[in-house]
Symmetry: C2
Subunit: 396 residues, 2 copies
């Protein structure tokens, strides 16, 4: 089978390609001369797409697209061949083939281009039977206040780089290439700390100041690969692919301001200063959900964010790769901020939905956080030399 030989082809390499260590801190990856020579290049080709296990760049923009009416399988193949060629060149620091501003392509700064498929791709291609059963909108949650302008989409472009000029140029090239096939549905621009401002591996803080993402499977360790990447059992074409859930979560910074620090810590179950659980001393200490204080009250409230996010079922875990957003405020507001909450998992219905349901039902933090957008995409596997993104689905 094509999938199997491809997996064999990349085998061990795939972990290195996806590994957080690659790119920066090149010494950690032995035997990869290219990475050592050009530390700002994340390889594009591989069994898996880059941008999932890649350590988050300072900037990532997510673009949801709508297919134009009448686009068929052949049109999708043409688009994906163009995107593959463009992404391969741009991530390597070269102008795209039809690049009108190739001089902007010279600083990839860990550029990754990741492509996702919404349900519309399967409809347009006449391949409904190959659609993963989980590829549909998430069930509605009581906390949702979804706005159509942030929901769904037929295609996803995820473009990340430590340099925002590179993100802008790359997106323009890719969207020009898609012009006859698709239109932009939504654009979500996210950022984290700039490369180099914090030690590698530092957990991000969101714009509420919370240490956000402590419990996160680490690429290249433990069960990361089985949690995140499909084994192809349900849909053979998806082996080494994954799914992405993109939830736009508005954070009510004004309301949050009314809480003092101890109040905030009760809500989250963690200290604001360093993210340590209220029963621990350091960020990565295991929380003790049974510990009680002198009055017999649990130290970590059972409806705190970390208590509800945690599951006894190790299968209810996923890989988080969130970004802050901060758009221009309107009217009397002084900010319009939040989180682009992004997770990757082999099966969002099995892994993500139960956690979101628990949080929706009871999380103290819901008072200050509101999901206003939701989208799910299948992330096809990577492509081998000569192949194109999506070939496993569309080429077979």
């Amino acid at each position: 089978m094509a999938e199997l030989s491809r997996r064999r082809l990349f085998g061990a390499g795939a972990v290195a390609v996806g590994g957080a260590a690659l790119g920066w801190g090149a010494g950690a990856v032995t035997g990869n001369r290219e990475a050592e020579a050009a530390p700002s290049v994340v390889p594009f080709r591989g069994a898996r797409q880059a941008g999932v296990a890649t350590a988050p760049q300072a900037h990532t923009t997510f673009v949801g697209l709508d297919l134009r009416p009448g686009v068929d399988r052949a049109g999708l193949v043409r688009l994906l061949k163009v995107w593959t060629s463009d992404a391969e060149r741009l991530t390597a620091g070269r102008g795209a083939l039809a690049d009108t501003e190739p001089d902007l392509a010279t600083r990839p700064a860990r550029l990754t281009v990741t492509v996702g498929f919404g349900p519309g791709v399967f409809r347009a291609a006449g391949l409904e039977e190959r659609r993963p059963s989980w590829l549909k909108p998430l069930p509605p949650f009581a906390i949702d206040r979804l706005e159509e302008r942030w929901n769904d989409g037929d295609l996803l472009l995820q473009v990340g780089s430590d340099d925002q000029v590179t993100v802008a140029h790359t997106l323009r090239v890719l969207l020009k290439g898609a012009r006859t096939v698709a239109t932009v549905r939504w654009t979500q621009r996210g950022f984290r700390r700039a490369q180099g401002t914090e030690p590698e591996g530092t957990t991000m803080r969101n714009l509420m100041g919370q240490v956000d993402g402590t419990v996160n499977p680490r690429a290249g360790t433990g069960d990361f690969d089985t949690l995140v990447f499909s084994d192809g059992a349900q849909q053979p074409w998806l082996a080494d692919g994954t799914s992405v859930v993109i939830r736009r979560i508005r954070l009510d910074l004004d309301g949050w301001d009314e809480l003092d620090r101890p109040g905030r810590e009760v809500v989250m179950g963690r200290r604001m200063s360093d993210g340590a659980p209220l029963t621990g001393d350091a960020e990565h200490d295991e929380p003790d959900f049974d510990a009680v204080d002198a009055g017999g009250i649990t130290v970590i409230a059972p409806n705190s964010h970390i208590a509800l996010a945690r599951s006894a079922d190790p299968g209810q875990r996923f890989h988080r790769r969130a970004y802050n957003y901060d758009e221009a405020p309107a009217g009397e507001a002084v900010s319009d901020s939040g989180l682009i909450f992004v997770t990757y998992q082999a099966d969002p219905q099995a892994q993500f939905v139960p956690v979101q349901q628990r949080l929706s039902d009871a999380d103290l933090f819901n008072t200050w956080s509101t999901p206003i957008g939701s989208a799910v995409f299948a992330i096809p596997p990577g492509c081998a030399p000569g192949g194109y993104l999506g070939e496993q689905l569309l080429g077979g």
Copy 2:
């Protein structure tokens, strides 16, 4: 006079504070131990505000504010004292006094906060006689297609940092502090290459790929100080202050795409590859506007951008510190991009307007660039220890 003693106080230091070399490349500034110990801190206090001569950070957001009705001189003084305290602490990497997220303040990444005054400040303070004669909207230019939502303002906040989280946090703190006094009128978010992706001193490229800003007085050299900073002759309080012109220029990337490279080079008068004038070999070569080709045609067209931007009058020069913008595209568009064209000069009417008039009249580049916003602010001098921004105007 207070102004004179303040100038004496800071004298030589002012150049170092404003110098492009400070902060990064600390070795270049001798005798400044603080800068060497904390290379990401740009000193806040000084004869001149930071953010003007400071080497441009990767991110700068410009916010225009409207004063609420009834705000008077005392209200302005209170606001500026709060802003001064907040900016001093935040630029040093400490939380503001009333900071609800002090943990976000730890990575200033060359943070600068620069405050500007529109005409409304002088009206509100009852100090019309201290308003510089040039502090008013620029005259209309034939090329202008100004949209009210990008024009003017009573106050300006300019917040720059190499880290976008720091920009977001700083803006939120400062805008919260202004809530009872002013509302946000417009927000313009600009970016350049990330810190470290290009050698220091590299001229930026805009999103059309042009090397943009080659001819620019360099901080600490030649007549930079007299071009940029006021000598206080017209308005004594403004000594060591300056003016900023913020023009939002939409770039028609789609139209630009229709030009081939030689066509683009005729329009600009410079090579796309490296920004060298068409009569030269390197970016900073002096253009020869008289050189003709074999057919007797001038090599650099007289209506090219560089020919018209140049003046025989050395007083028609200013300090450029432009940023790219790239907002979410709407409808069928694949990008909404342009330039936040920002210039500092002692007198915009004398220095900026004649150049803009020449460009408006004839510049070939006008076909692809459209001013859609325009604002002018007075940038008051810096503040000495114990003083506050604007004290020279409001405190006297």
